[in-house]
């Protein structure tokens, strides 16, 4: 299932950016995909996305990063936004405590809308504004551990840890996919899967590029 089928990429991973309005989602997106930061960026309303292709553990991964509005009332219109996402970057602003306190609410949104196997990474953005910090790094770390999420502090402005955050989550996703592919192969080799084994390598969560004639 995971074999390379053309020169473009092996996997397409959809990753959604979520978090309160103004935490820096759009700039994390532009920093990762275009290595740009815009002090005068527009507030996002609908859906914006950008892609970047990179190598992870010898595979060519096309990361498709989705970004949307953060205001609370927009949360109810985003079920289509989560569909097919294999990863989520849950972003708060280290200078705004409220955005950290809302992390739990965002986790509930993920549990409600997203695939239960979605890989979640918590990101405390704006680490360049350390003098205005209102969320200690340890608090972020503690919450991430409690919820079983990976965690990093980033600065989209200074290009600090943004690359690392995406590398980490993409690697995590790839490992899960590889394990599933392996399990599927083993299952195929030793008769039908036992009851309770879930194999969904080719479901909507991961788009494996098919043959060149697919379009």
């Amino acid at each position: 299932m995971a074999h390379r089928v053309d020169n473009e990429y092996d996997y397409l991973f959809k990753i959604v950016l979520i978090g309160d309005s103004g935490v820096g989602k759009s700039n994390i997106l532009s920093r990762f995909t275009r290595n740009e930061f815009c002090l005068e960026s527009k507030s996002t309303i609908g859906v914006e996305f950008a892609t970047r292709t990179l190598q992870i553990e010898g595979k060519t991964i096309k990361a498709q990063i989705w970004d949307t509005a953060g205001q609370e009332r927009y949360r109810a219109i985003t079920s289509a936004y989560y569909r097919g996402a294999v990863g989520a970057l849950l972003v708060y602003d280290i200078t705004k405590k409220q955005t950290f306190e809302n992390i739990q609410r965002w986790l509930r949104e993920l549990r409600d809308h997203a695939d239960s196997n979605i890989v979640i990474m918590m990101v405390g953005n704006k680490s360049d504004l350390n003098h205005l910090r209102s969320v200690p790094e340890e608090d972020g770390q503690a919450l991430a551990e409690k919820e079983g999420l990976s965690f990093l502090e980033t600065s989209a402005l200074e290009a600090l840890n943004v690359e690392k955050a995406f590398q980490t989550i993409l690697k995590d996703i790839h490992q899960i996919i590889s394990k599933k592919a392996l399990a599927a192969q083993e299952a195929a080799g030793s008769g039908p899967p036992t009851q309770g084994t879930t194999i969904n390598v080719t479901d909507s969560a991961v788009n494996t590029k098919r043959g060149c004639c697919s379009s």
């Binding site: 397409l12 309005s21 103004g22 005068e40 960026s41 527009k42 507030s43 309303i45 609908g46 859906v47 996305f49 892609t51 498709q64 509005a69 205001q71 609370e72 009332r73 927009y74 109810a76 219109i77 079920s79 289509a80 936004y81 569909r83 097919g84 739990q104 986790l107 509930r108 949104e109 549990r111 409600d112 909507s204 788009n207 697919s214 379009s215």
Partner: protein, 419 residues
């Protein structure tokens, strides 16, 4: 490149603020001489000149990026706007000044007894039809404030409250902090930062007053992200804060469907579902293809309906859509949204990935510098849709949406208990 901006005269007197001109548009339809740059089409072998991107100021002062073709299209559009301006002036000369302000009342009706009743009806009808046709071809920028206030019903709405309403409202909100004002303050510098006046202190202070004022007028709406773009463009067109405020009020309270911007955006959900059904009716092949792909129209159309295309289409194209929106109502949004899909039917049918669908629709919309191309599609190729049909469809969807929103709240609170 597209004319110069002239800032409004700054007056600090609070009482004059609502009346003063805030910002002067490069007057596309005014009888002034403007320098036009025209690029010649490159010969074969120089085709890459089309790919060259240049930054330039569009007709309403937005810095945009486009290629040679875009610049040429904008020049054509400006020429057509001048011609259309001449049509309006000619009609003013024959029908009398301001004839369009009261299309339902004949200027000489009522003074000549019984016969006038017939002539009144006829002239009302003629005026209404003439105006509808004219508005679809575009209102000259200098006339937009007057025409919009009249046809949308904003002028009437304002006439029902004391003249001091806006000033008093703004005075009452000064120094108050609410969740709405916090979000507004956050969004001000993020509202069309590519526009020099909107990016200025003066521009942001004006925009803030309009948005904060409205958040106090309707606490159920408060402030919804997206309204910043709508209000900003209204300010640029209407020239005075008070007029922009009343246009915003009539939009939310009369022109658009109810609860479009309230705290669960239920009206917006309804519109998205109605749009999905209309797409299936009007563009069945596209709808079937997208459905099979698992593409949900709300991914692109949410922004279209909440920002009324202001964040999507080039400025003059958006304003041409708004000309018709204020005169004919919210069904216009469906026409335009369907047109954007329909224009790219062949490409959409070839595409296999959801991301590519979003990409193609957004790119198409961003480059629709020719308003007539879009509006011809929207009204001639999409065909008619009556407001009645849409109202019925909305009623049907309302029940579904409310049930879904209720379920969502229940699911989330059960997750809360688990957590």
């Amino acid at each position: 490149m597209f004319g110069t901006q002239v800032r409004g005269v700054v007056e600090d007197d609070f009482n004059h603020r609502r009346r003063r001109t805030l910002w002067n548009t490069p007057a596309a339809s005014m009888p002034t001489t403007t320098h036009t740059i025209r690029y010649s089409t490159p010969r074969k072998g120089h085709a890459n000149a089309h790919q060259l991107l240049a930054k330039f100021e569009d007709l309403y002062g937005f810095m945009v990026e486009g290629n040679v073709d875009d610049v040429n299209v904008l020049n054509d559009v400006r020429e057509r706007m001048r011609e259309q301006g001449r049509v309006w002036w000619a009609l003013e000369a024959s029908k009398g000044a301001n004839w369009y302000l009261q299309p339902r009342i004949s200027s000489n009706g009522g003074s000549e007894g019984v016969i006038s009743v017939t002539s009144l009806k006829l002239s009302v009808l003629t005026n209404t039809i003439t105006l509808r046709r004219l508005i679809r071809k575009g209102v000259p920028p200098v006339l937009r404030p007057k025409v919009w206030l009249s046809v949308s019903g904003a002028a009437k709405k304002r006439s029902t409250v004391p003249e001091t309403y806006y000033d008093e409202l703004i005075r009452a909100t000064e120094g108050k902090t609410t969740p709405a004002t916090l979000q507004i303050d956050h969004d001000l510098p993020r509202t069309f930062p590519c526009h020099s006046w909107l990016n200025s202190e003066e521009g942001q202070a004006s925009l803030r007053r309009v948005l904060v004022g409205y958040s106090f007028r309707d606490s159920e709406v408060g402030y919804c992200q997206g309204l910043n773009y709508v209000a900003a463009l209204l300010l640029l067109v209407m020239k005075t804060e008070e007029d922009a405020f009343w246009m915003l009020a009539v939009l939310l309270e009369n022109v658009l469907v109810n609860d479009c911007y309230t705290d669960n955006l239920s009206g917006c959900h309804v519109e998205q579902r109605v749009f999905k059904d209309l797409l299936a009716k009007k563009c069945p092949r596209i709808a079937a293809h997208l459905e099979a792909m698992g593409f949900d129209v709300s991914l692109v159309a949410t922004e279209w309906f909440l920002c009324l295309f202001s964040k999507t289409l080039p400025s003059e194209t958006t304003l041409r859509v708004w000309d018709v929106l204020f005169n004919e109502g919210a069904k216009v949004l469906f026409h335009v949204a369907l047109a954007i899909f329909k224009m790219r039917e062949d490409d959409l049918l070839r595409i296999q990935h959801i991301g590519d669908v979003i990409d193609i629709l957004q790119t198409t919309a961003h480059h629709l510098y020719d308003p007539d191309e879009l509006l011809t599609f929207a009204f001639d190729k999409i065909g008619s849709m009556t407001t009645n049909t849409i109202t019925k469809e909305r009623k049907k969807q309302e029940t579904v949406v409310m049930a879904e929103l209720d379920q969502r709240i229940r699911r989330l609170s059960s997750l809360k208990m688990d957590g």
